[in-house]
């Protein structure tokens, strides 16, 4: 039974309806009675910040639910409202089952106390009774691999040991619903993997997990469903891949609007400061088939098309356009040119426009890419160079870590077989 079916049959593990949260940010904080007494009539001016504007969603029991969004989108505020740390101004939140929150690991740890006291303290914070906490101390220390250091005060622990201890306590909690806020950002890769293993185990045990993160690969790998927040509203809710793509797009739109490019009309004249003599220039470039779509995400393993619209200012005989795709380290990953093509492109007259399309099977590793288009006259130098004016993001559900991801077949042959064949 899939989680979405569960959502319809059973009462949800966690549900929110119309949750709103507004913060009043005083322009000048009055912290003393004297300031109050000196200016009793001055109204305290506030800026209102709408962190959440009507959030409604439900999480099914046993679901791994991701909440994503950019900084300031309201995702952490939402988590704090769900956890009961903030009071929602409007709307309702319901929960079915024991709920535990991990906004930070090791809340309440006291550096001057030894592991035992801190385990008990932290365990009680997370909802255990002192007896339960003490009974689980052994397994906590064991999981954290800190047997030799159990009597040490926490201030003598390395930061890694600290995190290991905190995490080991956290996973002892018997909550049915876990709210997790990017605690995985800490620790090395091995530790993060350990965390994910535990979350996977908890998911398989049927616990409900609500997970706030920036890490889209984690969303893709673990979440049944995800929700994208932007400026306190739900922008997308559903399939994690779609949500992750949308998140990438949102992030990219912001970068683009910062450059002032997104909404502005296509330049009808060649921008200043470009390399080349200006006989022809790239007036626009985009990803995908349609110019208007402003597609910014390309999926790994699918066909990828990049197009450049070239405007000719004077007559050009047989122009060529080449494409270089750079990654964010300015390394050229893919290079292609129309000059390699057998046929000549022909003659273009002043005022004419032409679209040059480059298509290939997307083998790029996940990340951000910058297409560079260069317009040349055959044999006689650069007419225009279109560089770093837009970028696109490649998403993949699985990546091995190379600059490109190509399908590789791996075969194993035993050395003994080779010898046999040689002898034969």
């Amino acid at each position: 039974m899939s989680p979405s079916q569960l959502a319809r049959d059973d009462p949800p593990a966690l549900a929110a309806h119309g949750v709103e949260k507004t913060f009043l940010i005083p322009e000048e904080q009055t912290h003393t009675l004297k300031e109050r007494a000196l200016h009793p009539l001055r109204p305290t001016r506030h800026e209102t910040f709408h962190a959440l504007r009507g959030i409604s969603f439900a999480v099914a029991p046993g679901e791994f639910f991701g909440i994503v969004g950019r900084n300031g989108s309201g995702k952490s505020t939402l988590l704090k409202c769900l956890a009961g740390i903030y009071r929602a101004d409007r709307g309702q939140i319901w929960v079915n089952g024991r709920l535990s929150t991990f906004i930070e690991l090791g809340v309440g740890f006291n550096l001057d106390l030894a592991a035992l006291d801190n385990v008990v303290l932290n365990g009680i914070m997370l909802g255990l009774s002192p007896r339960e906490a003490r009974a689980r101390y052994e397994s906590v220390i064991e999981f954290a691999e800190l047997e030799e250091f159990a009597d040490l005060k926490l201030k003598n622990y390395s930061s890694g040991m600290h995190v290991r201890l905190a995490f080991s306590v956290a996973i002892q909690v018997d909550a049915d619903i876990l709210l997790i806020d990017e605690v995985l950002a800490v620790g090395d890769a091995a530790f993060q993997q350990k965390c994910f293993d535990v979350f996977n185990r908890m998911r398989d045990e049927g616990r409900t997990i609500v997970f706030v993160t920036h890490d889209m690969s984690a969303v893709n790998r673990f979440c049944h469903r995800a929700m994208l927040l932007e400026r306190g509203r739900i922008v997308e809710l559903g399939d994690p891949h779609e949500v992750a793509d949308r998140y990438m797009e949102l992030n990219f739109e912001r970068a683009r609007s910062r450059q002032g490019g997104s909404g502005s009309p296509r330049p009808s004249r060649r921008p200043q400061g470009r390399i080349g003599d200006g006989a022809a220039w790239v007036s626009d470039a985009w990803l995908g088939d349609e110019q208007a779509e402003e597609q910014t995400v390309a999926h790994h393993g699918e066909a990828l098309t990049l197009k450049a619209l070239v405007t000719f200012a004077s007559d050009v005989e047989d122009p060529g356009v080449s494409l270089t795709i750079e990654n964010d380290q300015r390394q050229a990953i893919v290079c292609a040119t129309s000059e390699r093509a057998r046929e000549h492109t022909g003659r273009f007259v002043a005022g004419e426009q032409a679209v040059f399309a480059f298509s290939f099977h997307n083998v790029l590793a996940p990340g951000r890419y910058f297409p560079v288009f260069t317009v040349t006259r055959r044999g006689s130098g650069v007419l225009d160079r279109y560089e770093r004016e837009f970028s696109f993001v490649v998403t993949a559900s699985d990546a091995a870590g190379g600059l490109v991801e190509v399908p590789v077949q791996v075969r194993v042959t035993r050395a003994a077989d080779v010898e046999e064949r040689v002898r034969a």
Binding site: A83, G84, I85, N96, I103, M125, L126
Partner: protein, 291 residues
């Protein structure tokens, strides 16, 4: 965008933070565990540990005793002056330790308040509880001292728990009030420092009640002695002196002029407790945002 339509109700509602959340057991576990670890830190934090906790009141006692009974000779005339002085210092120390510690406690525990859901009242109460642990140990020292001074247990010692209870209620009420006010007004701390200094001289610790009673005049027809006894701390200390140390000393009711009048300072204790709880309870849901 898809917004699911929700049937109602959908389970336990989450109402946000409060002074007292439903689970009393967790409330107690948290208060006790925090208080215990704080106490443990004081106890084992330094080499001489508990000795320092005891040294403070004892040193203060030593200085004041020398000055006021050998040099200035104000208190020396009173019966059992050293015993009264020491127990006064110990009880007063409990009160200031609890209240002054509580003032900054909620702000100081920011890490907890912002990151975890728990009844907010745990924080000031754990400070009061830590002070109580300390008081319990200091009272052992007081008992030893009283014995050395020739003060022997009497039936009226049964009043001790009641007196300590009144003192604890007073300290808790003030702690709740101050800790929530401090979140918004940071000058609560220096103000409280001054007030607690005043309370030291405004209670029968150094100056025996008889000295106050012998003053002439008053305000609006109320004698100085009766005004003085409106201070709940004075009531506790004076009754302590009467019941524990010196039966010939005036009891609290005698000092203030009768049982009906005694209800005023006791009412003040209850009033401060109710006010403290009310203020704390009102500000509790918003503490995490205002820090």
């Amino acid at each position: 965008m898809s917004v699911e339509t929700l049937p109602e109700p959908l389970g336990q509602p989450i109402r946000g933070p409060s002074a007292l959340a439903g689970d009393w057991r967790r409330f107690w576990y948290l208060t006790f565990t925090i208080a215990r670890s704080e106490f443990k830190l004081k106890f084992f934090g330094s080499m001489l540990g508990y000795l320092w906790q005891l040294m403070r009141p004892l040193l203060l006692f030593g200085v004041l005793y020398v000055v006021f009974s050998l040099v200035v000779k104000t208190g020396g005339s009173a019966h059992h002056f050293p015993a009264v002085l020491l127990s006064g210092i110990v009880l007063y120390s409990f009160f200031t330790e609890a209240t002054s510690g509580a003032v900054t406690s909620v702000v100081g525990r920011e890490d907890l308040v912002r990151k975890i859901q728990f009844p907010r009242l745990v924080i000031p109460l754990s400070v009061v509880l830590t002070a109580m642990f300390n008081l319990a140990l200091n009272l052992v020292a007081v008992a030893v001292f009283l014995t050395l001074q020739g003060v022997h247990p009497r039936v009226t010692w049964l009043e001790i728990p009641l007196l300590l209870f009144v003192l604890a209620v007073l300290a808790t009420g003030v702690s709740m009030l101050l800790s929530s006010l401090y979140v918004r007004f940071r000058d609560v701390q220096p103000i409280w420092d001054v007030i607690s200094q005043m309370l030291f001289y405004g209670s029968p610790i150094l100056i025996p009640f008889e000295k106050v009673r012998s003053l002439h005049g008053g305000v609006l027809g109320v004698s100085w002695a009766h005004l003085y006894m409106l201070n709940p701390l004075a009531v506790v200390l004076e009754q302590w002196r009467h019941a524990v140390i010196d039966p010939t000393a005036p009891s609290a009711a005698q000092a203030i002029g009768g049982w009906p009048e005694l209800m005023i300072p006791l009412g003040l204790v209850v009033g401060l407790f109710v006010l403290g709880f009310w203020v704390f309870n009102r500000s509790a849901p918003l503490i995490a945002e205002r820090l």
